[in-house]
Amino acid sequence: MDRYIRQTALPDFGTDGQDRLTAAKVLVVGLGGLGLPALQYLNAMGVGTIGIMDMDTVEYHNLQRQILYAEEDVGKSKLEVALRKLQSQNSETEVVPHATFLSKENALDVIQNYDVVVDASDNFPTRYLINDTCVILNKPFVYGALHGFEGHVSVFNYGEGPTYRCLYPNEPKADEVPDCNENGVLGVIPGIIGNLQALETIKVLTGVGEVLAGRLLVFDGLQPTFRTIKFQANLKNKSRDALKEHYGILHCAGVATLSVEVFSEKRMTTDYALLDVRTAGEFSKHRLAEAIHVPMDKLDLPEHLKNTSKPIYVICQSGRRSEQAIARLQETYPELNFYNVLGGMNQLSLHTH
């Protein structure tokens, strides 16, 4: 136990606390600005089983705040990079990769295997889905969210404590509140909030200290101030039999991505399908040999792909239409794995010439 002696030496934590961490199972949803600092500490401190979930690729503009990733990781799967680095950080913990985004279809199955969920997602639909799933399964979840120089933290659904819907009953409509960091975020802010989430997770797991339940912590990095707002459980939010029929688009931009470098590699090594969503005119001028033409105005899958287990790559000229196409297709075919080829045919021609 030498490894953990600096924390087991704390009278209030002790070897009991460490034993509880070893036995614990935590799921971290999202491998971004919040999830990575939370994970690095949870893993370092010896949480026995840690689930990680994401389907994005590391991008250059992630590096300013997602400090587990290095320049050489750009273009690689976040899940694979995080798995490797966390395993090398602590070989005594078990890190379980979930190569998916959280969806209405998988949420109950995945979350039931864990004691606590860390909500490190970056969009409202996923946050409401985590809340509702945790209410059904009676699990606490440690919430963190950001806006510019601000951050929020709370532990929802902890025992008799209030839920996310007790604070914010209704899911914001698309575009109402900036989502997906489109408003910008100062690199260090998610580090502060993600670390607070790690601390609350440890407290939930070990029973040490006062858990931040029934209180929303609001951090303003500019002032700087920490303010806590008390709030009560509304009983109607504490029981739920089933998930809602519909949550908004469940991951940022709705879309998993891959760079043209990775795409070029996958073309040689993977069994996949490629959809080209450009117009007939663009398609006839220049196309990839294996591309199936599905223009935006007639967007649907050919019959043979409707139940496929292959990854489906979607391409257009610049990567924008293909992103919209995936958002629409994913609603109709939630079980299929779509990936947007970043930068589209433009980027591909730069890369191949």
């Binding site: 970056d122 409202f124 806006h147 601000e150 899911e171 900036p178 997906c180 707002i229």
Partner: protein
């Protein structure tokens, strides 16, 4: 009274706090409850009316719409935020 603004409400108003008159010189109705305050602010900043959920804290506690407010209270608008 002073209203502290967080998240997108700060962006909408363009400042981190806002002063609301507590005695009427213009004949305009003075907000006496949380819901009257929301209405008062919504008249000046219509974008606030489009928010599906907006938590209002009075003296660091979540307040229901019918809660009375007065000039001694510290009030904060705390909309949901979502970045990660």
């Amino acid at each position: 009274m002073t209203i502290l603004l967080f998240g997108v409400t700060k962006d909408i108003v363009g400042s981190s706090s806002l002063s609301v008159p507590t005695s009427s010189v213009t004949g305009k109705k003075i907000p006496r409850t949380v819901s009257e305050l929301k209405q008062f602010l919504g008249d000046t900043y219509p974008e606030l009316n489009t928010l599906s959920s907006l938590a209002v804290a009075v003296n660091n506690a979540y307040a229901q719409d019918d809660q009375p407010i007065n000039s001694y209270d510290e009030i904060a608008l705390i909309p949901p935020v979502s970045g990660g």
